[in-house]
């Protein structure tokens, strides 16, 4: 075997032999992501926790305050009313999403999983609001619900319900519910998609087997499909819970402003944090109280996630499909 072709190959080969690579490339692959993530995500979270344990002085320095800020937030009448009201409003928001958004998502997903004609068109269009900025969504609904424009009244009029119309966003009694429903309108696409995917992953044989066992459409849904997608419903619930504390700010801030108008009826933890941190009207900004509120949100989310992991996740074992 000594044709010229192979000879050149052997030359190339003997030129220089590289050594097996060590572990440097692993560091190179990981370092940038770990660095950016640590500096701009993990460090700020930890730093916020730290700041919440200090108090600012007039001259700009900080002194150790222990848990004083937390005590202030929870028990000082000035803060406590705001805090508990915001916390309560967040819970209401969560509750409305759980009883309206997620069942609606389940219903839509269940119907879509029957593979009706135009199914993918429905799916695509229902997801549209989810893509829009909360700010845009907020304004769209503000305009539509505005008594000035009168679109809602006209629309209700066409089905003879014009008398029902109220400036819902402006009324203390209905503002929070209205904001929640707007948010449901925007985000129902997410549970719908997640549940739809879970339903699709149930093997056809299983459904056929149930049919052979004599179950009809409804009982198949309740007795076979629903138990199998419970883990997904659990994930939807925890995502709703986490999102509730962050995303609600954008919507409320753009519709009702940082004070959670009308008269704090829609004030949530997010707006409270923003107001505290930056100051509003007479009140000056306070980073330490801001950090305290953020940390409280962190703990509240942590509690929710722990409950989910400990309770829900353990019960809802995944079935191999």
């Amino acid at each position: 075997m000594s044709d010229p072709v192979t000879d050149t190959a052997k030359d190339v080969r003997t030129r220089r032999k590289r050594r097996r690579s060590g572990g440097l490339h692993i560091v190179v692959f990981l370092a940038p992501a770990v660095l950016i993530y640590s500096v701009f995500s993990i460090y700020p979270l930890v730093e916020s926790l730290r700041l919440s344990l200090f108090d600012g002085l007039e001259d700009g320095t900080a002194v150790w305050a222990g848990l004083e800020n937390y005590a202030t937030l929870l028990f000082d009448p000035n803060w406590a009313t705001q805090f508990w009201r915001a916390f309560w409003n967040n819970l209401v928001l969560f509750f409305i999403h759980m009883v309206v958004q997620n069942p609606l998502g389940l219903l839509l997903a269940a119907l879509l999983s029957l593979a009706p004609r135009f199914g993918s068109a429905y799916r695509t269009l229902i997801f549209v609001p989810t893509l829009l900025s909360v700010v845009i969504v907020g304004f769209i609904w503000e305009l539509i619900l505005s008594p000035l424009w009168g679109v809602s009244e006209t629309l209700l009029g066409t089905i003879g319900l014009a008398w029902l119309y109220q400036p819902w966003l402006g009324l203390e009694s209905s503002a929070l519910t209205t904001v929640s429903l707007i948010s449901v309108w925007q985000y129902v696409g997410i549970p719908m998609m997640l549940i739809y995917a879970a339903l699709l992953s149930i093997p056809d044989e299983l459904i056929d087997a149930a049919r052979v066992d004599g179950l009809n459409g409804w009982s198949i849904f309740w007795k076979v499909k629903l138990p199998l997608i419970l883990p997904t419903l659990g994930i939807v619930a925890i995502l709703t819970y986490i999102g509730n504390f962050t995303v609600s700010f954008d919507l409320i801030y753009s519709i009702q402003g940082a004070l959670g108008a009308p008269n704090f009826a829609t004030d949530v933890m997010g707006t409270l944090l923003f107001r505290t941190f930056f100051g509003q009207q007479l009140q000056v900004g306070d980073i330490h109280m801001g950090a305290t509120i953020a940390s409280m949100m962190f703990f509240i989310i942590l509690v929710g996630v722990s409950i989910y992991l400990a309770l829900v996740q353990r019960r809802l074992q995944r079935y191999e499909m």
């Binding site: 692959f29 992501a33 770990v34 029957l114 199914g119 799916r123 609001p129 009168g150 944090l273 989310i301």
Partner: protein, 290 residues
């Protein structure tokens, strides 16, 4: 994968009664209408003059009501070209970093055995559970120290940190399913670990990268919180913040408000029309696994 499943079910559903089918379509079509009607209404009215908007909000723009005055106001009064280019720079750069750094990290986690592999993996996806906004107080301080307030770079860095956990999570899951043989083969072919990543792994994960891209893009493009806090200066405003503040100033000029909303909506809808298949496939497959 859903192709056979859904055709199978389609057959099953065809067997069911006509009334059931009608009911299904009524609910789905009804809700679809609710979902898109408000958006449609805003875009429709943005092409009308003031009289058209108020006297006949549901009518099509026609003679005597058609007008682009709103768009004219928006384009002359607001600096939307700047806002757009800011949003674009921030979103594209952050996306690029998320995908690039996320894919590299995911590759390292999926491919190599090293100490703390699992621990590091958990650390990197922790951010899925804890919203980055809770660190805002310290992020602002950090940006002040770094002299990055009112720069697009501040937003880019924060969004990259925000997007990495989900990207790393999805990409790691996917990369674990790639065949080991093909990477080994490239090693035998003499590629360095870096070139294996760029020349073998990246082409294989391209479809998933696209999904992650669309996924990560939405919250960045739509965010109000960080532009408001970190970059609210005129030169660094993003579209979302720009629209928010523009509307704040022009509340009485309805054509302008509607036009500015439409300007913010239309590019998103355009992109969605292009990528919806990919996005939905991504959500569905991701959910099946996760």
């Amino acid at each position: 994968m859903t192709e056979t499943a859904s055709s199978h079910r389609a057959r099953a559903s065809r067997l069911r009664g006509l009334s059931t089918r009608a009911g299904v379509h009524m609910v789905l079509a009804g809700y679809t209408l609710i979902a898109i009607f408000p958006v449609f209404l805003v875009i429709l009215n943005s092409f009308k003059n003031r009289r058209g908007i108020f006297t006949d909000p549901l009518g099509l723009p026609g003679e005597g009501t058609f007008s682009l005055e709103g768009y004219a106001t928006v384009l002359t009064q607001g600096d939307f070209a700047t806002y757009f280019s800011n949003s674009l720079i921030v979103t594209v750069t952050a996306l690029f970093l998320i995908l690039w750094l996320g894919a590299m990290a995911a590759h390292a986690l999926a491919e190599y055995r090293f100490r703390f592999n699992t621990l590091l993996g958990i650390y990197l996806i922790l951010g899925i559970m804890v919203p980055i906004r809770l660190g805002t107080v310290a992020i602002l301080e950090l940006m002040v120290d770094l002299n990055l307030v009112n720069t697009l770079l501040a937003l880019i860095l924060v969004y990259t940190a925000q997007g990495l956990p989900v990207a790393v999570f999805i990409l790691t899951e996917f990369m674990r399913t790639l065949s080991r043989d093909i990477k080994d083969c490239a090693r035998v072919d003499g590629l360095s670990e870096y070139r294996i990543f760029f020349e073998v792994v990246v082409p294989l994960i391209r479809p998933v990268l696209a999904t992650v891209a669309v996924f990560s893009m939405i919250p960045i493009w739509n965010d109000l919180w960080f532009p408001l806090i970190l970059a609210s200066g005129d030169a660094t405003k993003t579209v979302t913040l720009g629209v928010q503040q523009f509307i704040g100033q022009y509340t009485v000029n309805w054509s302008a408000v509607l036009a500015s909303l439409s300007i913010a909506i239309l590019p998103v809808l355009g992109l969605y029309a292009l990528f919806s298949r990919q996005l939905i496939a991504g959500i569905t497959s991701g959910a099946v696994k996760g």
